[in-house]
Symmetry: C2
């Protein structure tokens, strides 16, 4: 067996990346985040892990609403910039074109192919991390990102983040190599 | 503004995909899962959301250990197959070459570029979902997946899962389009 132990402080799997939007003292702020995923299907709840000292967490706690905006290639510099600078030190409200949906305290980024507004369902504290459980209220996109009326992964081209070593990188989505709940049906059990 | 509301029962962002391994009544079983991410950096804890009725959850609850194995392209059929068939109905212990690390009840998949053994830290119940918090004990890989001693995302080529519509698809990792905490430094604020 050729297996070797790898320095284990990373999480080397590909991650989605989002710009979380909230209002802090009435002003829109955005941070980038890669530690989140879905929590349940019905209701459509997502879970995020975030250090509670983030400026953004103050806004989420205050308004009990936030947005998750999914950037594409064209936004890679601004996305990274949002992770380099805290809203405590820099006014990020002018970085993007902002719109609001049904929740009036979740600023949405018009420049992103997909923007989602969420309501906070629960905050769970673990050490210094907060697990934030959010209920999806609305998902916004544009006609140009649809194929046959459905969001098309190759058209939306959301950024993917990988940090398998001390350096992290943003990637494109590659080739489609199979349909889920289908390609496995072809697998022949010996 | 061209924004339209999209039917909101999906989570259209790209997701990692893993084969979770555990022992159930002493026999290795594997399920595929896409709802997980990191929870904290120090300690290196990951969080998973899983319906508590999954056969796999019984094994995790019983042994308080499990593995997460990250498949590449070559394993797409077997990965999908693991999501089509429950361990209650089919013996999946013969699907892969298995090895064990320091934890003796977390079966690891040798065929995967990366395998991780974890210890259960906490189980949090939310409706029928379980949030499983696991502490990474060891990450295993092979020399051929390293560049300059570090895991190389383009060599490991982990599968990515996207379900932006009723259909889900497995994708490759695409092009590297920028380094994190670096490309944003070039962003010039107007």
């Amino acid at each position: 067996m050729n297996k070797i132990k790898i320095e284990s402080k990373y999480s080397p799997f590909p991650k989605p990346i989002a710009l979380i939007g909230c209002l802090i003292d009435g002003k829109p702020n955005f941070m980038n985040i890669a530690w989140f995923n879905r929590m349940s299907m019905e209701p459509n709840q997502w879970m995020i892990s975030m250090n509670k000292n983030h400026h953004t967490f103050q806004g989420i706690k205050e308004n009990k609403t936030f947005s998750m905006n999914f950037p594409n290639n064209e936004l890679v510099e601004k996305t990274d910039f949002c992770g380099l600078v805290s809203g405590r030190d820099f006014d990020k409200s002018q970085l993007f074109t902002i719109f609001y949906g049904d929740l009036k305290t979740a600023p949405l980024i018009s420049d992103c192919p997909i923007s989602v507004e969420l309501e906070v369902i629960e905050l769970i504290e673990k050490q210094n991390q907060m697990i934030i459980i959010g209920l999806v209220k609305n998902i916004y996109s544009e006609e140009k990102y649809l194929t046959n009326g459905e969001l098309d992964p190759k058209k939306i081209q959301l950024l993917i983040f990988v940090k398998a070593s001390p350096d992290g990188f943003y990637f494109n989505l590659g080739e489609n190599i199979g349909q889920a709940w289908k390609i496995g049906k072809d697998y022949k059990v010996d």
